[in-house]
Point group: D2
Chain length 252, copies 4
């Protein structure tokens, strides 16, 4: 079972570089499934049905989200109706959408879970308990967890907590790929952050001048996705049977 | 001008792997200077004069710090007196120690600055202004900034803010090396986080069971540095003239 | 049904002024029950069995807690065994202790709940859901909720959320009594914070010089409960049948 | 020297109740100056020139601000040009506006300073140092500090820090008046929070249903100022010579 997981796609630059490089990635890795984090696909802030459909047309089959899941209200009905989009599982039950989905590939159930860390992020339900409950109630042969979080400690804790229970724990949210991809002791594939997919010369996808100015002036600012080239694509290739995790990092 | 910068050394495992591998690294890269972040060198929490001396004996020539700088009171006089230890420059003036130091190598002044990010960390003085003030008042040929911070956005902002003004901006604090080492547009060497040096199978250096339990139980816990092998060493090699940044990542 | 609720008792000054004034308060208000928040009763940090017993001997019948509940490990068994001490109900199930207790007075069940806000405090379970679940599962004639929280918005939200469902929502934690005691529309008695009981000339109970110095120097400091006179006692008198809430504020 | 200080005016309900009651307050207290915190006067979020002028027409002579100072861009030029509006003094120098103003009354200089706490708020410059610098550089006979902050500890620390150096330290921002108005040891008048001026049955001025729902659902929500009666006016009367601070709390 081979999977490509693409890190947070940011705006049109993210979609463009996916369009350009995904065919080559498919050719090279021959994946059974392509997953992407899409929480920043719509202008950096959330996702719309239109852009979700664009991502599906590009070949992405499952979209995970994160703290930006509620940025666009027009997405809410699609979160409910479209099984291909998952939002963090640890939002309260009443929130639209669901925190996991399953895909049947060659007779095997591949479970994809999205969950949010709590450290420096919103006060949601316990992510550890949320994932545990899904694992206890869903039948799966393979499971991939997108742990959307800020703190390295919390993502590593999730990796070790799930070691041996899921196929892979992949961090997202910081928009910078980490160099610590590995196989944990009981066989779970792990990386603290997959990184982002979008502009390369900005600050986590955004035009840098405004961000720097905000840090110095302490005044609010409106961020804009940088559209200048080059772009970057950050992803991981996972071979769930052979226990291989290979980072993919393209700048062009 | 060639420099080795070693990421946050955590406890005796960190010191042990430095002892084992630094001679090989020196042989391979032939650096003019060896710098290390030592904020976790004493049992994971701060630094003591005794352990600072141990690090100097291992060949480390300059020690930078971070948010753990005040963990051991016995260090305070040494922060004042020993020019080889620098703490974040953006603490108030009354705090012991200083935020930068200079080293003369082959007639050139190499300036080393330590500064702390503010996002998700303490409310210190503005790190951007603090660095700017040092750069405006100190004569230097080369400058390396250890930007000790949590948020990727703030570290990237510091990188771009200083691009062309300093030789390198190196992030520390998250204890996980990032895969984004690069040369910025105006020639500054950059990496979001150098990563940590210490145990490999813990959670940012600490025994994993206690951390996981704390995240789930929400109850306080006392963390202990993991001493089991393997250990990891994370560092970067910098060639400040040739504009080269090479990550070093050893697990053993 | 008449109740005295005493705000966070801080150290020996808090216990002393309770000892001096509680007899007079009892004489004046003739309460059926005396409740106190005891999270700072042991030297400002948590509670011990010995000091809990001291509070019981002073006439306090139920002790509620807050974020300091885990400061003293020796309290954990007593949290489990002694029905007179309640800790925030929204800690995970595995935590020692329980989040509510009931007292039978004149054939009526008085339910006392302790719950913690999440804003600027720990990421616990949802306090609104936690209280709702208790109310749905416990038989009660009267209910008092100690909402231990920082943000006024969250405490007011709890007040309005429970308006008509409980007898009283009393905020604690900020250590400063608010002037907004009132009867909400559906009859629930409410105050955003009852205030603290302990030294008067410190900073929320602590010697002021150290706190000021910490805010300015940004360096860690060890806080000590101020023992100089005068002391203050902050409490509320509640008449649950007559829908009366009367603040008590003694400085001596 | 007698002053009325009105706590955070929220939206049109806040302006309405000021209009209705300020004449009576003036008649009763005969103040030399009327100051109000106006950071929420424009629909709960910031201030506009039009609404600032409305407040001036109502008789308010000086407007202080807080963390909402940047909500309305159209205010920025007025922050620069109009000496009657002050924003927190501890924003970086480059920010529009100024952190203090002086008013000459009967030949005496009354200095009004606005400053923001840092705890749970933005990472600004040190508020203690910022106020100290103003006091060291401005000639004044009386000084009133609006300490806009969340944490009771930080506001109390400011009070004690300035005790004997200024006439009054008045907290704002939590929108709930505290019951701890007092004269500090060296004569400074103090209250932790003056409270808000606007709707009475909302949550710090906002319609309660949306706030409760947000706390429970963890989803973003758009807040609206409650316009139903009754309204509340929270203020303090200060007699700077006689060392008197009297809370004013009107609900109607
Ligand atoms: Fe993202
Ligand atoms: Fe995110
Ligand atoms: Fe560290
Ligand atoms: Fe650190
Ligand atoms: Fe307390
Ligand atoms: Fe507390
Ligand atoms: Fe306000
Ligand atoms: Fe405010």
């Amino acid at each position: 079972m081979k999977v490509i997981f693409i890190g947070d796609i940011v705006g049109s630059p993210g979609r463009d570089i996916v369009e350009e490089h995904l065919p080559l990635i498919i050719e090279k890795y021959n994946p059974d499934l392509i997953v992407a984090n899409g929480e920043n696909a719509a202008g950096g802030k959330g996702l719309t049905p239109k852009i979700a459909d664009e991502l599906f047309e590009l070949g992405i089959e499952i979209i995970t989200m994160g703290n930006h899941v509620w940025d666009k209200k027009e997405l809410y009905p699609m979160l409910e109706s479209d099984l291909r989009i998952v939002r963090p599982a640890n939002y309260p039950d009443a929130a639209p959408g669901k925190g996991y989905t399953t895909v049947k590939i060659d007779g095997k159930n591949l479970l994809i879970i999205n969950v949010s860390g709590l450290v420096y992020l919103d006060n949601l339900n316990c992510p550890f308990k949320a994932v545990e409950e899904i694992l206890n109630n869903v039948t799966y042969d393979y499971a991939i967890v997108d742990m959307h979080g800020e703190a390295t400690s919390e993502k590593l804790a999730m990796g070790w907590f799930l070691d041996g229970k899921v196929s892979a724990v992949l961090g997202t949210h910081t928009h910078v790929q980490t160099a610590d991809h590995r196989v944990l002791k009981e066989g779970t594939l792990y990386i603290t952050d997959v990184g982002m997919t979008g502009p390369y010369d900005g600050i986590i996808g955004v035009e840098k001048e405004v961000v720097i100015d905000k840090f110095i002036s302490k005044m609010p600012a409106r961020f804009t996705v940088l559209t200048d080239r080059p772009y970057q694509l950050n992803a991981v290739f996972l071979d769930l049977n052979e226990k291989i995790i290979t980072p993919i990092r393209i700048v062009e």
